[in-house]
Amino acid sequence: MIKINSLTKKYGTKTALENVDLEFPRGEIVGLFGENGAGKTTLMKCILGFLSYKGEITLDGEKISTKNIEKISFATSEHSFFPALTAEGHRDFYSEHFPEFNEKRFQGLMEFFALPKNRPIRTFSMGQKNQFEVILALSQGADYILMDEPFAGNDVFNREDFYKVLSGILEEHETVILSTHLIEEVSDFIGRAVLIREGNIISDVKAEELEEQGKTLISYIKEEFNYRGDRVSKALSDITGEEE
């Protein structure tokens, strides 16, 4: 389990995360939702130890360090592969450095997405780069897979394929923490939704709870974020001068 206690992160005087308490048990698929700058990426980077912070983050009861970092993988829209290296080169590098690297899954996903194995990743299209980024994160052999907007730039068919593959290949002990704006697309895929606003967790709900309440994920999120449905028509009315 990843346990976050009183996590606070500040960039100068700006507070990016404030007193965040969260738990991510094994086997969950968690959606992390919030506006741009809400603190989703910062939260992930704190978990990975890329940023300094106040508070405590533990992984299975231990502080996250080089001893247990291999249990966490990371796919980001910024990409973290080596552009000049081929897919095969990445496979060699990952299997050398991550003892639990899942070669079978890597090869299977490479074939499923028909990605070239002997071309430098920099020659891939944006969609292929995103796919490869996620393939690496899924094949690392990690128990916790952090994904930060991994499908940005992919077309809808690509993304749908991905959700299907993800739900098909994930094992019981694997946890996915997925930050995305594509709420409707992932609503059938996630089991829990965590909502972040201005560095605070404003809601943490399980899919079953939403089902019991008869709400969809998108309606719940709109409700929690106080989304004003009339704001578009009001803006248009203000601009054009016409009555609604």
């Binding site: 990371f74 000049a84 590098f93």
Partner: protein, 165 residues
């Protein structure tokens, strides 16, 4: 050697190109050093002599050889440039992890704590040490050649050397 270099250079580097560039940098530095020193030595050495009417080559007893320090004055400049380039190379190795992607994220979450540093600084540091050692060795070789070649009478006294240094 290429296989070993792969492990100590940033992931995805063209190891052959890096190896070639580094070896050429080293060879040019050493060659420049030898060319500068020996051309200074030869010119100054020839100035110690004159030819009489019969064509005999004779030593000018009133002319002193330039000091060793003066002869090797600019001989190691290319090594300095090479060392500076190696420092730049080392910094670039870190910057490389931000170009085209943020591969720095992968490097920073490896179970091997020092992998990033190992891959960024090992090769530059080895070549910097090699350059320093080469400067010391070449300096010693040049000095012994100077001592061996220059006639005793043409050498500056230690007092003169101090003033001319």
């Amino acid at each position: 050697m290429t296989h070993k270099l792969v492990k100590v250079l940033p992931v995805g580097y063209n190891v052959k190109k890096v190896k070639t560039a580094l070896l050429w940098g080293y060879i040019i530095s050493a060659a420049f050093s030898a060319i500068v020193y020996f051309s200074n030595l030869i010119v100054n050495y020839n100035n110690l002599f004159y030819y009489d009417e019969a064509g005999n080559r004779l030593l000018r007893t009133n002319v002193k050889m330039a000091s060793f320090h003066l002869l090797r004055e600019r001989a190691f400049d290319f090594f300095l440039i090479f060392i500076f380039m190696l420092l730049v190379f080392s910094i670039y190795n870190f910057i490389y992890h931000y170009i085209g992607s943020k591969s720095i994220f992968t490097m920073r979450r490896l179970p091997q704590k020092y992998e990033l540093i190992k891959r960024c600084v090992t090769v530059p540091v080895i070549f910097i040490i090699l350059s320093f050692v080469s400067v010391i060795v070449l300096n010693s070789v040049y000095f012994s050649i100077y001592e061996h070649v220059v006639p005793e009478v043409s050498k500056l006294s230690s007092e003169e050397m101090m003033w001319r240094f």
